[in-house]
Symmetry: C3
């Protein structure tokens, strides 16, 4: 059973949320519409803003690194959620996770890679983290990122 706040659950795993990264263009990193919080696409960035992973999943990016890249993009996305609502306990439900992956010819294991994001979100939010999900498989991504992650979350009243 999950316990404590999402922040406490992440800390128990040794995860410190980075500063919420800024946008790469003329848009916002997140928007609130009614009780729906929508992030823009998030990269697998380190705390200093640089990408921890680049390349193509299924060739230069190993299955293990693909999982780790999706996990790190989820950490950056959770940092956006926290930037938007202050306390992650205000997240009532993770509604949808979109993982857009940069993949090599013949790659088929997208679901296992994206579980890097899903597992972390489930760990942080417990039952409230159980989300719908969609995978997009692209060939040439911005900054050569192996993944861009979007989260839609419901905010408590």
């Amino acid at each position: 059973m999950p316990y404590g706040t999402p922040e406490e659950r992440l800390a128990a795993e040794g995860i410190e949320l980075p500063r919420a990264p800024g946008p790469l263009g003329a848009y916002r990193p997140w928007v609130i519409f009614g009780s729906l919080l929508i992030t823009s696409g998030q990269f697998p960035r380190r705390g200093d803003g640089t990408l921890a992973y680049t390349g193509r999943i299924g060739s230069s990016v190993s299955p293990k690194d693909a999982y780790a890249a999706c996990r790190l993009a989820a950490i950056n996305t959770i940092a956006q959620l926290k930037d938007a609502v202050g306390s992650l306990s205000r997240i009532k439900q993770i509604v949808r996770v979109e993982g857009t992956m940069q993949v090599a010819t013949g790659y088929r294991d997208h679901p296992k890679a994206l579980d890097g994001a899903s597992d972390l979100i489930n760990l942080a939010f417990g039952e409230a983290g159980r989300h719908s999900r969609m995978i997009y498989a692209n060939t040439e991504m911005p900054l050569d990122t192996p993944v861009l992650l979007v989260v839609l979350a419901e905010i408590r009243d």
Copy 2:
């Protein structure tokens, strides 16, 4: 003019809804947010869970099979909607259909293929089925599926 319930309209076409397929990873096949029901990506699966179509639209998958694959993915998606709300008459409106297709170089007829999903949804739901739509054209999809389908639907109060 459409008549009867969506279930009756589907039955009149000889379509039996399969059991709603389970997820391929650490996520849920559907989530409800307020009055919005969102499915995860659905495959063109047979009743036994195996994929009825695999390959690339525009090369190994013919135009006819591409249409049929999108139609079958829509049947699986409607099975998810029914799993979520019990009776399809509770669907007030199909809000959005997302078709992510695995296509070959030079393929341009995505709209005709995705009409396989749109036509079925329009048949099942009549005026309430008239949806917005988006096409994504990917190269390497999970399980070598020719299409992954997502539906956003509004539920009646």
Copy 3:
């Protein structure tokens, strides 16, 4: 500071909104769900309905043309919003912009290209135009379009 209505701001830039383009298949160009207006994917069409740009960003489509194509797709999308709500002053907030681009191997500058859409939306709607954003990089798009654009917008009560 922006001033006047979105229509006035666009006119001051010499932009005339075209007739809202019709769909390419068995779907609607836009749908309203509660206070959320969702468009289907929009092309960079001229007023006569033909595509002003075709080809692959990063090879046959130059960076300048990629920006212009995204801008033109945004003009078509705003025409859809106006078709849906009558007056663009009824748009309370642009919630999300999705840009799906047809790109060449090695292309990395998607954010700069999609700023063609974002800059125009920010110009037209001012503070209310500040949106979240997602980029998808596809290889083979319908009609050989370099971009398909989707907008989610909140409507005023």
